[in-house]
Amino acid sequence: MKKRNKIIQTAAILMGCLILGGCGEEVQEGPAYTERTPGEPADYSGSEFISLAQGETMELLLNPDDATLRWQNMESGDYLDTRLMDAESGDTTLRSDVVASFFNGGTRNDSMYNTYDSMNSYEYGIETEGVAYEQLDNGVRVVYTLGSDAVTYEMFPYRITDERINELVLQYLDDFQIQAFEMQYRQLSDGSWLRQTGEDNPLSGMAATQLYDIFYNVGQYTYEELEADNTEWDRLDEMPEVQEIVIAMDYYLEGDELVVYVNVGEISYNEDYPLRSLDILPYFLSTQETDGYLFVPDGSGALIDLDSTKTREYQFTSRYWGGDVLQNAETYSSTTPHMSLPVFGMKTSDYAVLGIIEEGAEVATLNAYINGSYNNLPYSRVSLSFAIRESQNLGSFVSALVNYSQRKASTDTYKGEIKLRYSFLTGDDANYSGMAKAYQSYLVENGTLTASETEEEAPIFLQLLGAVDVEKYAAGIPYDGIEALTTFDEAETILSELTDLGVQNMKVEYSGIANNGINQSGVESVSIMSELGGRSGLEDLVEYAESIGSDIYPELKLQTTNLGKGLARSNRSFFISGQVAEIYSFDPVEHMPYLTQQELEVFHTYIVSPAYLTTYLSNFTESYNSLGIGNLASSDFMTFFSANYQNNANLSITNAIPAYEESLNMIAEQNSLMLSNPSSLAYSQVDYLTDIPTQNSGLRVLDASVPFIQMVLSGCKTYSTETLNQDSYDVTEDVMRAIETGSALKFRLMADETSALEDTSLSDVFAAEYDAWRELIGTHYQAYEEFYQAVQGASLVRHEYLDEDRELVYTEWSNGVTVRLNYGDESAVIEGTTVPAASYIVQ
């Protein structure tokens, strides 16, 4: 509690570090890392780096004095430290390798909290000597005992006699302080004083600090006196318990890769102050350099330049795999980042580092800060935060005493593991292409990706729109009618006409063909729409498609429904506030969620509760498999994950994920799967990936898009672009993007006219008329096919921007084929070849 001492200590250690900073690099290599017994306490000491492990090129070192881990390249001498001991800022987070955040104000019984606090491993661990080492193969386990100095109401007597308070406290106070005291204590008729704050009415912020000062610093109050008072008024159970978090962090080398491991289930903390989140290695991937970039896997992959000056923009922050879809569901956001792969990275002028989240990605948030954006600190960095206990803001409350916002926390917490793996990339691999290659080989090694058979002809993905419901009238009385947009017969015509135009290997994602069409009801029992031609019509179509070497993939929503029908209320996900969860649409004017079905063209999207998901989908599988199609597409399955906060059956996202994985395996058993940009969790089971973005999400803070996902997938999976014909008939540039990224083309088509979509839930589909596209698809397919034949079976190994505006692109494939693309409006020379404006050359 003695803050002043701490500051002195900090300063002392800081000085020590500054002196030590220089000696770090001259550490002698010591071969002491093979004979250790894991788990035994280790007595590392000294203020110089000692070597713990060596790989081929990388070495792991420890400075026992301040628990700094150094991951160093033995050839170049480049290194990364887990804490920045020589930083000039007073912010101790820079010198921390873990920051633990916990709830402190609120009530444990109903999981309602209103404040939280945090402790970092430097100020609350190193400085208070709460650090110990244990032996580990090729590394070390650092055990922190973090102590809190958070002020709570329990530090002040529940009731105290007038006599004692005057003697111990009041006589030392000035008028202003007495006034502050009287804000928190009320005098009873017998003269004694009663504390105004308590469990239900917490003390926090400035008021807490001030009261602490009044009692313990200005006044002469002590914990002994507190115990005496609490004994007198029979309140001994209220003695303050201090937060103490014991957390073990493992650092070890696997080959040259650094692994950081935390077993969350084994972290101990005071249950009254439950752990909320952990920031792991906040400054490990940080730099003050201006040459290079931060890599975030947003969209296709995105770069933030280290010399970016966009400090006034919103900084990048996003949950992996979309996090929990229930969080902030009512908030409109014009641009939402989406990360399908659990990776991150940084490149400086000399090297690049790729980070992979092996465990815990579903609770991880990636933050990227550009130089000067975070507390004006001169560091560009990427850092991770892991949500241990999810919570949601229920609203703000104002009372006479306090003004606070109330959060309700989930009772289901993350008890799994956090495991991060870092790869150090040098030379030609020290860039995002290298990162992608490293991640691809990581996925191939652990069996997630396997090299696929190459398709003879270029695949093309066609999403056909089946049927949509629209309000119709009979003698003035409205009813829900069905508008058939593309019948099975029309689909057959489309396929045969396109075949005549030379289009081959069509993968048809046929949406809205069952259970009420595009606005779909529950799918526990699948019934093909008679308006489109019924089950026999579909069977004929499937047969026809097979005969021309194409495939029909009926598309169904598997984890959401648009109608309540077919999904009982109790089987839906619930918000933490207790309402049935929905994925809202927002009105375009004021961006308020459509909470009720006021507008008939606005439909609901309910979420199948993860607790029910396996049952739901096993019923579905049974019904669907009986159709005997063997192909299945889904636009929502595995693209996001939902928790469920129904009554007491809280199921957090992390514990919900096994249900999704189990369902996936069940469905994939008998079906070839086509999913729309799914989470990387699905990669091992999915055959075709559609809608893989070729750009980042468009946040202003991002400086470039890179085809990271495509570089990871190419050679292993067939993947397509997002729908090219969103609202425009000019897709030349999008086709170039497809060639740049090696993505198959994807079009959305319907036989009906656009005007048929008016007042339906598809009213924002503007350019899907097949008639207008027929010839264009033929042309674009031929162009793509030409490129495809050149790179068939190869994988994209290098992607590079050659100019500052990032309009000139050079890509290289594993079979030696290169592609030069010029997105500019003037012809340009790319790697020795002149490429006309808005054009490309495959060589």
Binding site: N647, L699, D805
Partner: protein
């Protein structure tokens, strides 16, 4: 700036337009485009403009864009006013010059056709003029403005017309826009806003104490937020105040608002509810082709209107993505670009038209040149993509009227919601049809009459022969004839006697009265659903059937209840049953008249609306007459007592409605409270 552009390549007509349209490569769906349809409901549109570039200080060769306040474009030069300087850029956004001498903090910049640059220096109270080379020419300070009182003269916007007249918008001046002569002397105020307090406000003020009045808001006329001159010499001005009906005005030389208005289409007001704006319009800009745009600071959104005041498209919107805006302060048209100055990101955001936006722009340009055929090609494509587009349907309508395709014109005008235009087209269709078919119509009418007469003749003949005697269905038919025709006919021809029978002999059928009630409600639904566009306000919007039914039937039922209650009190002799019968029989003619009116509505133009009104009105008059007579008879009232009882019945209706509303409200609150308690309990558990 990098010129991220290329030739537009869209199919069809656009290729022949020979227009180089700058299209950016990056297309990001940020804030979605939308527009309003004829029912003022929003519909989704493709993006009309997309983000092309963000120009920051470093791109423009200056150290900062802090305090950027205004932009103006003319003849290949973009002028940007900001703290301490005026920046001049060429059409490639390359710096031409920076005026820094004699510049403090200009709040606006305007350039005349001759190239003279005028700025408004708020803090100096001056309009400052520079020549085209950026040299200081003169300052016009503190004109003697009559009636300004203690207010300090702080000009924030200044524009100069062809004749050298200077129009100034000054801070805290509510008398209107200040007009100065070319020498800078005050001439007059123009475009003063009238204060229109509501009757209630006037009443309240008249009874309020002096203290209360002082605490109330001042009755100040609204303040203009921005002014500009359009290329036809009109002064465009925006008013930054919620719920204004005309927040964008087009003022002529005399200060009169000459903005095109419509009977049914909401004019240029930004986002709106009930015809009044809900936007905060802070900036206005005019394009050379007649379009004008207004900027809403609340949602960071830009509304672009055609010359005739129709919403062409929206763009912008707040957010953190590319093409989103943070805190926009000013907009400008620059050839095909739309520029937005953003203060938070300290940048100029450049937007350029997409295929969709370009189609609208080109269509408008053709329309301005009276080339309706070429314009129609654009509008046709717009209608394919967004069938609800008012601006495109208006263009199509005009085109079809010219080509004589009146039926197509009808369909297009119907989409715009303007009934007068629709009706004009319909009148043409009808006249042409009548010309062609008059003979046939007469023949058909004669044939129908003959056939009907023959049928009646045959039935009578058969009846005489006794063919129909004793048959069950004949009895039913006879009963229907009696109830539906004979008795009502008797009632209508001899109302006093008939209603007397109701009172004493229980004449009339309660069952049939219920049939009347149902039929009457049905005619309301039919006229809401099938009444022609000319007469039907709810045409094309989704009809809320239960609402129509309730609002049709409920007043009569409440009246019956009220009248019965009153008459019990004042000793009326009628019971509930006879009151019900009276009212229902009185309503009976309306069923036929309403159906006839709905039928008639299909063949009338808006000039002949009176006919439709006459039929509906006749039904109401007959209802009032027969109901009155009937009530007098069943209650056995004198005339004056009957009138009195009706007034009291009306009062009783109000009370019943009041109690009904009260009960419903209390019940709703009760149910909500129970719900809240359940929620709370659930949260705690």
């Amino acid at each position: 700036m990098r010129k991220n552009s290329r030739r537009n390549r869209i199919a069809g007509v656009i290729l022949i337009l020979l227009m180089t349209v700058m299209l950016p490569f990056r297309s990001v769906s940020a804030n979605d485009g939308y527009n309003y349809d004829r029912n003022d409901e929003t519909y989704a549109t493709p993006e009309a403009y997309e983000w092309t570039a963000s120009l920051r200080a470093e791109d423009l060769g200056i150290e900062s864009l802090n305090g950027i306040s205004d932009m103006f474009y003319r003849d290949g030069r973009l002028y940007v006013a900001m703290m301490g300087r005026i920046l001049v850029l060429d059409s490639e956004f390359q710096q031409v010059m920076v005026i820094e001498n004699d510049v403090t903090y200009p709040r606006s910049v305007y350039v005349t056709e001759e190239g003279d640059i005028y700025t408004a220096e708020q803090s100096l109270g001056a309009i400052v003029q520079y020549d085209s080379n950026g040299n200081y020419v003169r300052s016009l300070v503190n004109p003697e403005i009559t009636g300004l009182g203690d207010v300090t003269y702080q000009p924030v916007k200044a524009v100069v017309d062809d004749a050298g007249r200077i129009y100034v918008k000054a801070q805290s001046v509510y008398e209107g826009i200040i007009e100065l002569d070319p020498e800078g002397n005050f001439r007059r105020f123009i475009g003063a806003n009238d204060v229109n307090p509501s009757l209630l406000e006037i009443f309240y003020r008249s009874i309020a104490t002096r203290e209360q009045i002082s605490r109330m808001q001042l009755w100040l006329p609204t303040d203009y937020s921005d002014i500009t001159l359009d290329y036809d010499g009109y002064l465009l001005a925006t008013i930054q105040e919620a719920s204004t009906k005309e927040p964008i005005r087009k003022l002529n030389g005399t200060g009169e608002d000459v903005m095109q208005t419509y009977e049914y289409i909401t004019g240029p007001v930004g986002d709106h509810e009930g015809g009044a704006t809900i936007s905060t319009l802070i900036s206005v800009a005019a394009a050379e082709d007649g379009r004008f745009a207004a900027l809403d600071s609340q949602e960071s959104r830009i509304f672009v209107y055609s010359e005739d005041g129709l919403l062409a498209y929206t763009l912008g919107g707040s957010g953190s993505g590319i093409g989103d805006l943070s805190s926009p302060i000013d907009i400008a048209f620059m050839e095909d670009y739309i520029l937005v100055a953003d203060t938070v990101t300290a940048s100029i955001e450049v937007f350029s038209p997409t295929e969709y936006g370009n189609l609208i722009n080109v269509g408008l340009r053709y329309q301005r040149d009276y080339d309706y055929a070429a314009a129609a090609e654009c509008w046709r494509q717009i209608c394919d993509i967004t069938p609800a587009s008012i601006i495109a349907n208006m263009g199509m309508g005009r085109y079809y009227m010219r080509t004589g395709e009146y039926e197509a014109a009808m369909a297009s005008y119907e989409r715009t919601g303007e009934r007068a235009f629709y009706s004009d087209a319909f009148a043409m269709v009808r006249d042409l049809w009548m010309e062609d078919n008059l003979g046939a119509v007469i023949l058909v009418v004669i044939a129908v009459i003959i056939v009907l007469w023959l049928i009646v003749f045959a039935i009578r003949k058969l009846a005489k022969k006794g063919v129909f005697e004793g048959k069950g269905w004949v009895k039913v038919l006879r009963k229907i004839r009696y109830n539906a025709f004979t008795w009502p006919g008797y009632m209508m021809s001899k109302p006093f006697k008939a209603f007397d029978d109701v009172k004493y002999e229980g004449a009339g059928s309660v069952g049939f009265c219920f049939v009347i009630l149902v039929l009457f409600a049905w005619t309301a639904v039919v006229s809401a659903q099938y009444g022609s566009f000319v007469v039907n306000d709810s045409y094309g919007s989704r009809v809320n059937i239960p609402m129509v039914l309730v609002s049709t039937v409920l007043p009569y039922l409440i009246f019956i209840l009220g009248n019965w209650a009153v008459c019990v009190l004042i000793d009326g002799k009628g019971n509930m049953k006879s009151i019900f019968k009276v009212l229902m029989y009185a309503l009976y003619p309306s069923i036929y008249l309403n159906l006839a009116a709905t039928l008639l509505s299909q063949v009338i133009t808006s000039d002949e609306i009176a006919l439709h009104g006459f039929l509906v009105g006749l039904g109401m008059v007959m209802f009032v007459f027969y109901a009155f007579v009937g009530l007098v008879m069943v209650h056995q009232f004198t005339f004056s007592k009957a009138v009195g009882s009706l007034i009291l019945s009306a009062v009783a209706m109000v009370i019943i409605i009041f109690i009904g509303v009260l009960v419903v409200t209390l019940l709703t609150d009760f149910v909500n409270d129970i719900g809240t308690i359940i929620d709370e309990v659930r949260l705690v558990l």
